[in-house]
Symmetry: C2
Subunit: 643 residues, 2 copies
Amino acid sequence: MGDLKFVGKFKIAEGFWGRYSRLVKDVVLPYQEDALNDRIEGAEKSHCIENFRMAAEKLRTGKCSGEFYGMVFQDSDAAKWLEGAAYSLAQKPDPELERRCDELIDLIGEAQHEDGYLNTYFTVKEPGRRWTNLHEAHELYCAGHMIEAAVAYAECTGKKKFLTIMCRMADHIYKHFIEEGAEGYPGHPEIELALMRLYRCTNEERYKELSLHFINVRGVNSDYFAQEKQKNKWSVWGSLADDKEYAQNSAPVRMQTKAVGHAVRAVYLYTGMADAAYETKDASLKDACRTLWNNITGCQMYVTGAIGSAYEGEAFTKDYHLPNDTAYAETCAAIGLIFFSNRMLYLERDGRYADVMERALYNCVLAGMQLDGTRFFYVNPLEVLPGISGEAKTHRHALPVRPKWFACACCPPNAARLISSIADYAWHETDGKLFNNLFISGTLDVREAFQGTVTVQTAYPYDGLVEYRFAPQDGVMSVPLMIHIPAWSHGAVIRRNGEEIPCEIRSGYADVSGDYTAADVLTVELDMSVRRVYADSRVAADTGKAAVACGPLVYCAEGADNEGDVLTLSLKEGGSAVLSDFMPDKLCGIREIYAEGYRTQEQEGLYSEKAPQHTDCRITMIPYYAWGNRGLNPMRVWIPERR
Amino acid sequence: MGDLKFVGKFKIAEGFWGRYSRLVKDVVLPYQEDALNDRIEGAEKSHCIENFRMAAEKLRTGKCSGEFYGMVFQDSDAAKWLEGAAYSLAQKPDPELERRCDELIDLIGEAQHEDGYLNTYFTVKEPGRRWTNLHEAHELYCAGHMIEAAVAYAECTGKKKFLTIMCRMADHIYKHFIEEGAEGYPGHPEIELALMRLYRCTNEERYKELSLHFINVRGVNSDYFAQEKQKNKWSVWGSLADDKEYAQNSAPVRMQTKAVGHAVRAVYLYTGMADAAYETKDASLKDACRTLWNNITGCQMYVTGAIGSAYEGEAFTKDYHLPNDTAYAETCAAIGLIFFSNRMLYLERDGRYADVMERALYNCVLAGMQLDGTRFFYVNPLEVLPGISGEAKTHRHALPVRPKWFACACCPPNAARLISSIADYAWHETDGKLFNNLFISGTLDVREAFQGTVTVQTAYPYDGLVEYRFAPQDGVMSVPLMIHIPAWSHGAVIRRNGEEIPCEIRSGYADVSGDYTAADVLTVELDMSVRRVYADSRVAADTGKAAVACGPLVYCAEGADNEGDVLTLSLKEGGSAVLSDFMPDKLCGIREIYAEGYRTQEQEGLYSEKAPQHTDCRITMIPYYAWGNRGLNPMRVWIPERR
């Protein structure tokens, strides 16, 4: 296995992602820490840390002074927060933050049983029911997140205590499912990918074996959840144990060809499968992953990279069913799609995986967080209708403004850990080649592999020019550099020291391998023309409409920039679109698009037979990720197009 | 009170409605009789008649040989069937059908308790729980339907046995709620309008008083359902007793300004309110009715006259929320809108009420039934996407083909009784004037009021020419005839004996009052041009789109006529539309529309940046009511429009 990621080796510089790095460190992590400790007024209660305290108290004294509160998977919120904090520490040391992390890790250690078991829900609320409800109780899911956090904390800080704690839990799970042969697989996948990370971090084969076990048994006995329910007779939520699509267990994973069910579960599972295919070179597993990825991105993905069309089951629905106003489009699902695409990229080194990572990242995931880092979307609709969105029964989930926190708070800390770990997605190495997948200003330390550092400077995503400089340890460094050329750019102009160099783009990457000195400047210039995007006509919600994009950013029209109304707007077919200069003071720095369009005059009555009148107008559009930052406001991504 | 309706006095002749009359008599009523008796293979079981048999057995013997089966309101299916049969008998005597009706009425009589109480659910399944769950148990709803049927049967056949049975039940209800002062109002309105019908039929003031009572107490104690649940501690379905919108009890009825909650309940309630306003001349009640009707038809009605956008709660949602593919648009709700509009027409004699009756009738209600009368839609979407409709979780209700029957079978017999009673909506008399609201070939016997008969001959809705002839008893008849000129027609040419007569249209009616002899021919010629219809831009689902209509009919494009696909079609802005000759063999006789349009070429990939190519094409459209009669098939009412 190659050293896929460069954990802690890419330091993000000031710029688009520099702002996000600071935001996560200065605002998001402290805010979420307050939330997990129930210190935010007017926000949903978390009780997450308190659950750990009570579990520790119970193990210490045999008694508990309070009751477990929150979701059955409440522990995972602390895990995700710790994981995000770890990445943030890797970017920039912060002894005070690290001290608080260490304290929380100490508390987690105190909440661990002698036999390695760790889960506050079962310790506080349901002792004696361990492993008897894999379907609903999220034990393996929580363990997975805790493992991921422990691995990240070890990799980012060098401290092993948390890793040791979670190895003990992993050993406990191994004993139960492998040595003692317990049946079953998790209702919510996550442990699979986490164990693969633990394996890569520790080189302990048993963790790989355990991950493969959960992948391989899934869906072989597709009645497992129903049998478990019948046998153990308890339920957390009264979930239907015979809905086999919801948790992707209708068939063995290699037989699955369409993404179905709960979207987050699906992409977490597929991520683990792709990890397994990478580690085992299992061709049938790789084929299944590719088929599923193609189904998602070819038939079930929003233009924003969001997935999961339906509130019902937070789920994938049917091919080409992509409603805009009732979209579920969960932030966590888009994050999971980034995980999955990232692993597919490791597997196949094809730029289309980086394209989807970028699409989901710059659009759906960033939209999941208020620009000031203190409010979050769980659901990311592509159309907001004030008076309907968040209010009609069918739209209760599709909130038009971001809440402060959620009773089920999976998304906010998930966004925090994804954003704070973005460096790990920007670069990777396989087969001895250095891949640059995302354009982020900063410096990559590849002294070990390639005897030097690479510095990137760019105003991306608001400018298409990306500059690479090199700092060899000994005068010259030989870098097998592969630079991702996004599909939307239709090629790129690549220059070395100002002179264009011919460069074939294969599978979405330009091979600019070469010997570089400190005097060399390599530039990549991408095509940042404003583009219209059209959906497959089978997407009924988008027929007759176009979306507008520039670079990796999908744009939207919001009422705030368009006299309060966007439903009467249409884009002029073939009309011009002007990109504004960078506006540092608007929405934390954006470039607007001014598109030629029409404003349809209001008519009389609900149904009129008078042909509507259209007058020329300029439609002002902002990046989708920045919507909903100016109060209640209509918003639309897909806009009717007229000649 | 005037003799509003002419029950049994308008005999429908051959033609569009003649076919429906025959269909109801020859197919629909026998088919539904089989369904109610569980004699249809492959259809959902009804058990409705069997419930009456068991109730009768229990009253006779004190024991029951079986168990109640079906919805708590299963009795109402028999009532609606009997009501439909009564209207059919009024159109054309059928001794054999009448004998079977009498048998069923005898059975119903045997299922009635000594004290007048009649409801098989409570007799068979929940004796002792009478009137303890007004919220869910539909006792007053079932009583209402049985009363309506009894009134219709008495009026159509002259036989009083059923009426006597239901007067005893109404007396029982009066005793309970008025004399004994029991609190409460029905969860599902219906008793209000039924008691008004019973009052008009019997002139018994107590029935009017009882109806007004239920209207006046509704929502005054808006916590009644919750209190009842807490007190009596039983539930049929576990409904939320604190959702006060669902059953329109959040406020006293005169304070309600927006149609909310379960759409059928809403319009049944408003119908009763309009009846009450008519009978009492209560201005505040009339104002509330008008406000609610304006809200429905101005903000919450589909172009097909369907109402209730959401599956969740079968309910109204928010103003301008009218999704096409996930529409609930229940057949019963459109029928209820016809009731409500019919009563508003009595109240205000304004043609806009007749316009809505006609819109709902010719589009949503007729679509609720297969052309052959043996299959039915509960839900009437305006867009059908094979692979998604009826399959995606969000579209489970929006079936793309009509089922044979439903476990909850409110719609099929409701459609049957509405269609078989259509004569009663075509004509009415108020203030001494004779109103013709719908154009149906046939002969109206107004010998009592106007000393003669009026015969209408028309190929409407496929032709705009309507011919009136007169048969005075004594050479000449003085007829204060008011003819509805639909708003879509933008006026009409009216001729007397071939010569155009000037005629002012006021409030949607042309006053052609005059003295007519047998030699006179009055013709009304409506504008049957094909029209484009545009929705208010606040209806997000319809922006950039148009619908096509001709006369009272809304048209749709179905795959069967358009190479299997309708999503790639767009209408040419300002393009021509040709109406075909009448095609007697297609879909039981229709005229197609051929509209100039475009076919968008298929693109590569889910999202493409290539501007789509459009080629000229001819879009074939059929009347919406005839959709879904040729198997699984995409369908669209609202079609993008391009220049």
